[in-house]
Symmetry: C2
Subunit: 95 residues, 2 copies
């Protein structure tokens, strides 16, 4: 499977807004993406930095996520609170 | 919940041995730790560096993991193939 760790830096004071947008997106991912195994937002020790732990069954599932309407719709809302592009680390699960 | 990302560097050429030890440990964690939600070994882009994505229901579950016989038993076997102490990043899930 494919795992991603996405590091998202947000603008000062935008935590509540960011978390609300991401909470809605997470629910939509879990409801609409059968190829997604994990989509978990986490806080780091830095109040303005979050990490998303993601696991997908295969490459097609990662593409389905990228192309999903709910993901595209969240783009502008996230863009309004992020402090730069997310950094994505790509990992491969060992089973 | 509590999420951990553990970065493990292994000695050159010890991949197969490391993955075998970790596969057994993962099975034991999943079978014996009700407080564990995720215990997933992953390969990074560096052949000698792995990351373990872990999620625990609460602090007690992380303590139960640390104190588990199967975790203690894996210590020496992992120690024989690791190239230094694991780095642990501690995260908090946002639900």
């Amino acid at each position: 499977m494919i795992a991603l760790v996405a590091t998202l830096k947000i603008q000062e004071g935008k935590n509540a807004e960011f978390e609300a947008v991401f909470r809605e997106l997470s629910q939509q991912v879990r409801a609409n993406e059968p190829g997604n195994v994990l989509y978990q937002l986490t806080r780091t020790s830095d109040p303005n930095t979050y990490k998303v732990l993601e696991i997908y069954k295969d490459e097609a599932a990662t593409a389905a996520h990228r192309d999903a309407e709910h993901f595209k719709a969240a783009g502008p809302k996230l863009g309004a609170v992020l402090a730069g592009r997310p950094e994505i680390e790509r990992l491969t699960t060992v089973d």
